[in-house]
């Protein structure tokens, strides 16, 4: 069947299986050229097997929870939303969460996801106690920072290319409430935005929405949202009645693919202007539920369909701290000069990072969405070039069209990864359409 990622682009023919037992999982692995798929939220072709795609949804059992340490042992198909449902009422929240809760444990480990707290806490890697990975023979091996370290190092962030992540132990964070104290600050341009990030490095969470169609001295005007977990003392009478806050109700749904002309230069510009003005009204402090703060897009089911049938792509790069300012100026300049505005653009400060092939590096990360078209594909290649020029690299979980040469020049770790895979006989057993394209 034809399968695509969250962006709806590209789609590829693959054999999709959903094993229910370890025995069936072994059979699927033995078919070769297989890749595990969690909830299908990687944007491009990371979770499409070049031959077989293994849907892990039946491996969705939690195994044990230690209420002293906050360590949850779970099968890899469990979703972050399940974990929040089960543990927030008991005072626990994921240490690291991406911008959607509809992701599987296996998926977030394979992508070594980062959250709005990366500058303080690092990526998910730091909160994974151990993993159990099925190798080419079907044998399941446990690895951790102190046991089979090499396998652990490559698996976290390794996009499923080291084997099938079957089980994991992840640490949760104790929280007093499900509310977030948000402080919103407006930056009139990209320089001001960077200054605000640097001045607020002690905030637990920080992220900026950035208007990439504004120009001249307004280029990169942003709204920066800082966040702290609210303690019981921070809550007012209303929020104290439901200290763990509810999931957002009355969800909107995008019922069908929008015609592709809906998103054009003018509608994106209008949206961004309205959004900017709206956010400006919220300047200052307010209490937001965990769902509204961390997962605003989850409130709209199927939001990916607004980009039309052709789908959309995401460009996400990370830039070294020293050259971030200059690089961001050049990237924003390029985008506004082509007029291909990104509907949603996010800027974030990263802290230090370890790991075999994990994406983050100390500096700034910029994420941009573009509907698929000849023009935007061309623009993204130009953005690749700028990123390379400043020593940046790219997020594989978002990538759908980068070339092998671009990956190689951005990240010399990719060659080591490919060699290690070949030496361990992994490259023919575990292969996604993406790893094939990128020569991993």
């Amino acid at each position: 069947m034809k399968l695509s990622g969250w962006g709806g682009f590209p789609s590829h023919e693959t054999r999709l299986v959903a094993p229910r037992s370890i025995t069936q999982l072994v059979d699927a692995v033995h078919d070769g050229n297989a890749i595990a798929r969690g909830n299908g939220r990687a944007y491009g072709d990371s979770a499409i097997g070049s031959n077989t795609t293994i849907n892990m949804r039946h491996f969705n059992h939690m195994i044990a929870f230690n209420a002293q340490t906050g360590v949850l042992e779970t099968e890899a198909g469990v979703l972050l939303s399940d974990i929040i449902d089960a543990f927030l009422p008991r005072g626990w929240f994921p240490y690291v969460t991406p911008g959607t809760k509809y992701v599987s444990v296996g998926g977030i480990i394979a992508a070594d996801v980062h959250g709005k707290n990366h500058h303080k806490d690092g990526s998910l890697r730091n909160f994974v106690d151990w993993l159990e990975v099925m190798g080419p023979s079907g044998e399941i091996v446990r690895c951790s920072p102190t046991q089979n370290e090499e396998l652990f190092g490559w698996t976290v962030g390794g996009m499923g290319l080291t084997g099938i992540i079957v089980r994991a132990a992840i640490r949760l964070r104790p929280v007093e409430s499900g509310w977030i104290k948000q402080r919103t600050i407006v930056a009139e341009n990209i320089d001001a935005a960077i200054d605000i990030f640097e001045d607020n490095s002690d905030a637990s969470y920080s992220v900026a929405w950035i208007d990439c169609l504004s120009t001249a001295d307004k280029a990169g005007r942003s709204v920066i949202m800082l966040g702290e977990h609210a303690s019981m003392n921070d809550l007012d009478d209303k929020t104290r009645r439901r200290p763990h806050a509810l999931a957002t109700k009355g969800k909107l749904s995008v019922p069908f693919h929008f015609p592709s002309w809906v998103l054009n230069q003018f509608s994106v510009r209008a949206f961004n202007s309205v959004y900017f003005r709206n956010l400006k009204w919220q300047i200052g402090e307010q209490l937001l539920s965990w769902d509204k703060y961390f997962y605003p897009l989850d409130a709209i089911n199927g939001w990916n369909k607004i980009y039309g049938r052709k789908g959309f792509m995401q460009f996400q790069c990370t830039l070294p701290l020293a050259s971030s300012r200059e690089a961001l100026h050049e990237i924003l300049g390029k985008i506004s000069s082509t007029g291909s505005g990104s509907f949603l653009s996010v800027l974030k400060r990263f802290g230090a990072q370890e790991g075999g092939i994990s994406f983050p590096m100390e500096g700034y990360t910029l994420a941009l969405d573009f509907p698929v078209s000849k023009k935007t594909i061309e623009l993204m290649s130009q953005l690749d070039e700028i990123t390379l020029k400043y020593g940046g690299r790219f997020y594989l979980a978002k990538d759908s069209r980068m070339s092998a040469a671009t990956l190689d020049s951005s990240d010399n770790r990719s060659k080591h990864f490919a060699t290690w895979r070949a030496e361990n006989g992994l490259n023919t057993t575990f292969q996604s359409v993406q790893s094939q394209r990128l020569g991993l």
Partner: protein, 245 residues
């Protein structure tokens, strides 16, 4: 207040597992029973971890009918609700050719489930309260060439539940008949089922939860099935016998 307990028999099925999640979420202690308890271990720990509730497992082979009464009497505490989710479709052609296969289907879908609920009916009547849930099938509403062995056993079970309800109506024991229609489960995996007519196991579980709370008698999980079965049952036999259905 002590927690209520629900016993789910045939607990390895997807509908049974979803039902266990639904009631655990509502604060019940869960007892899972199946022929092979080893198959229940992952579901057991999953439910216990997610809902901080007590989950235990019991071995019961429903075809070993001599075991049933002792099993029911041996449970402590006696559950507040018993759900029988045992079911086995078999293969119609095999069921036609081999009488032993037909016998297994009939016994698994009718004899075993009916005797199980019989045993609990007596205990519930004596105690003065309880809920019995039988998962039957729309296949029992009219026999069709493609699955009448399974269908006839379910027809028997549906009739049994109806009679049990009639008997216990004045005894404060509630009997619920569930007719799920198509459900996306392990049993139907690989079949090409129409999406609008096919319920997810979680939907069935929610429907069971609501129906036990509201003391409903007979439920179709998706309302459209009531209409479909009304039409199928209204076709005159001289015409029906010639249909490929």
């Amino acid at each position: 207040m002590t927690k209520k307990t629900i016993l789910i028999v045939g607990a390895t099925s997807d509908i049974a597992n979803a039902t266990a999640h639904q009631f655990a979420k509502a604060g019940y202690n869960i007892v899972l029973a199946a022929r092979d308890t080893a198959d229940l271990e992952t579901n057991k720990s999953d439910i216990a971890v997610r809902y901080e509730t007590e989950v235990t497992t019991q071995q019961l082979d429903i075809l070993d009918t001599k075991q049933i009464e002792g099993f029911a009497k041996g449970l402590s505490p006696l559950p507040d609700i018993v759900v029988c989710a045992v079911g086995f479709m078999g293969d119609q052609v095999t069921n036609e050719l081999e009488l032993s296969s037909a016998s297994t289907v009939m016994r698994t879908n009718f004899e075993g489930p009916s005797l199980l609920l019989s045993a609990f009916a007596n205990l519930f009547e004596e105690r003065g309260h309880g809920t019995l849930v039988g998962i039957s099938s729309v296949a029992g509403n009219r026999g069709r060439a493609t699955n009448y062995v399974y269908g006839s056993a379910k027809a028997g079970f549906t009739a049994f539940l109806s009679g049990l309800r009639n008997r216990l109506a004045s005894k404060n024991v509630h009997v619920l008949t569930v007719l799920p229609g198509f459900v996306a489960t392990r049993m139907t995996e690989g079949l090409d089922l129409p999406e609008k007519l096919t319920a997810q196991p979680e939907e069935v579980a929610q429907a069971i939860w609501r129906a036990t709370e509201r003391k409903r008698n007979v439920i179709f999980v998706r309302p459209i099935w009531r209409l479909i079965m009304l039409i199928i049952c209204a076709i005159p036999e001289p015409i029906f016998k010639k249909l490929k259905i």
